[in-house]
Symmetry: C2
Subunit: 362 residues, 2 copies
DNA sequence: TTGAAAGCGCTACCAG
DNA sequence: CTGGTAGCGCTTTCAA
């Protein structure tokens, strides 16, 4: 009496339940369901009927263990509420769904420990790839840490993809999808300089963040190209958030109030800067011009609409997923090909209404 | 020669590799790793050493099949780039991480077919719960559809959680986490009315969206309470996005320009409305007042800062996860208890600077 | 305290 | 075209 195959047992129905109910073998049910093997119409009909009756779905874990299984990619993100990240995630998710792949999202909250834990967790899940999103902090360990992740994942048959952060040095099994960050910053700063601005408040972000570093470099190169001195006193570092933009401008207004433009590290920072300027009774762009970076929806929703650098976030997500999928299908043939291991997408300035030539000096 | 257990085989290391290398049994390795069974220090040391050497992690699928496994919750969302949803997701993710649970995110793009496919996909994954986020369209089928999901998931040992949408009727195995949507709208509208506004442009969202319906009801109730006629001509339905806000105001300015306030269905709609008003040369709030709903970060980043209704999105996410976790630990004891099956969180008006008494009529 | 072995549900190979 | 069956990697009795 202890036979556990009692027909309507508790819990999930299994493939055996379906087989028995349909009077066919387990193998046949499997074949009907995976659909990658010829079966007679009659068999298919019988099986599908039972499948519907039982509302049966295959156990993904068992399937995965036995060889089959849906490829899954993991997206690791600092903070899911960041608009830029969300768009990359959307790109990945969309491209994954298109192929019937699944995507997992994990958030690290900028905590290296948690990042490590998540990478391992994803390794346990046997994901096809782990996609790390967003700028990284340029600690000494960074390269080593990522290289370790990459090898670890690679050994497990997975793959590391870095999106929006610098590529790894040396022969590390990882793919990088990046955008022309420095070029965008160069173009953005040039736009300001060519409008006649000379004293520009620069809010690049955290000095240790790779994203911020690239944007700084681009801006500096533009200043050099225009022969305009780059005043370190007009540079204020801080977080990529609204509050930082607000506070930095507030402080600058006290200490170095002669700036005629703000070059913000992100659109959100620009929004904060704009608010602070307003609070101080200054008009944008009549008194002070502002530019951002990222071109998230917020940029076009501000008043005035923000001139900024467009970064193709969603496309980066798509590209990242495609890279993983291609590599998977391509087999082990060209594993170490340098091609396709570092993809760089373009950026461009989107001119809207937040820039104007500087007012005449009083 | 065909024995496949050659030590350094390709692919992932298995528990057997670890066992052999450490000279112990598979069972012992399992016990050391899961840590829920007494083992000698010596054994533990030996095993852990090999685990580190091999950079071994257990196969989550195998573990899950065999009974163990990390509980996983799935979050199904219409559009990952919506700020409100992102905050709920953050809440869920955070609470899940706290318990060592994993979370999956899938996007439906408002497509019922895809929603169904995802629910089944999640069922295959054997997730502990499927959390459906965001307002639903009030089609006739809705209740039936959700009831089917609920039962289907329940039969598979999973559970359906509805967040931000109305509870299911009848005895359906699902949990709902909701907020006082109507009450918030009532309070918000009252705020406008008590400031003296009588002609207010209402942009509730799509007429079929449950969220919009609740907000409409709340607003209407407020109008009634104030004895102010609710003019259907001043109601404009549309999507919850910036463009709709902009276009609706633009159109209203042509057709019914006597409104002195805008009651927007969401903060994003309010942002669009604000922009349109500005474009028409109107000042906010001097000429026209505006209020939003949701209290996403954007609300406080607009100029003027938006008076809106605060919805505890992140907390809703946390509460949703907690409900699932509790139910899981609580065992099958109080499965059908009505308590805890419908949780409602409060909302409240956040007064900022976008409302002022209406200007004197010219 | 440790080891051996029986599955978890499914896929894929080998016969028929 | 269909059925039997050997694992996939792990957890968990049951013995020792």
């Amino acid at each position: 009496m202890s036979q556990r195959k009692a027909t309507s047992d508790a819990g999930r129905a299994t493939i055996r339940d379906v087989a028995e109910r349909a009077g066919v073998s387990v193998a046949s049910v499997s074949r009907v369901l995976s659909g990658n093997y010829p079966v007679s119409e009659e068999l298919r009909r019988r099986v599908m009927k039972v499948v519907r009756d039982l509302d049966y779905v295959t156990n993904a874990h068992a399937r995965s263990l036995a060889g089959g299984g849906t490829p899954t990619v993991a997206i690791l993100i600092n903070n899911i509420t960041g608009a830029a990240f969300a768009h990359v995630a959307k790109g990945v998710e969309g491209a994954a769904a298109l192929r019937g792949w699944l995507s997992l999202v994990g958030t690290t909250g900028d905590d290296p420990e948690r990042e490590l834990a998540l990478v391992n967790l994803m390794r346990q899940q046997g994901v096809a790839a782990v996609i790390l999103l967003g700028g990284a902090y340029d600690y000494d360990e960074y390269q080593l840490r990522m290289a370790r992740f990459a090898r670890s994942l690679d050994a497990a048959g997975s793959h590391l993809v870095l999106v929006g952060r610098p590529p790894l040095e040396g022969d590390v099994p990882a793919t990088t999808v990046d955008y022309d960050n420095e070029g965008g910053a160069y173009a953005m700063a040039s736009h300001l300089l060519s409008a006649g601005h000379r004293r520009v408040l620069v809010l690049p972000g955290h000095a240790e963040l790779t994203t911020a570093q690239a944007r700084s470099r681009g801006a500096q190169r533009a200043f050099e190209a225009y022969g305009v001195p780059f005043d370190p006193g007009l540079v204020r570092h801080g977080r990529y958030d609204y509050e930082h933009g607000y506070e930095a401008v507030e402080a600058a207004l006290h200490e170095t109030p002669d700036f005629t433009a703000v070059l913000a590290g992100t659109d959100v920072v620009a929004a904060g800067a704009m608010q602070a300027l307003r609070a101080a009774g200054l008009r944008v762009p009549e008194d002070v011009s502002i530019v951002g970076y990222d071109d998230i929806p917020l940029a076009s929703q501000l008043t005035p609409q923000l001139t900024t650098v467009h970064v193709p976030y969603e496309e980066m997500g798509r590209v990242a997923l495609r890279a993983v999928a291609d590599r998977r299908e391509g087999g082990a043939g060209r594993r170490k090909s340098a091609d396709g291991d570092h993809l760089v997408l373009g950026t461009h300035v989107v001119v809207r209404n937040s820039v104007q030539p500087p007012p005449r000096r009083g």
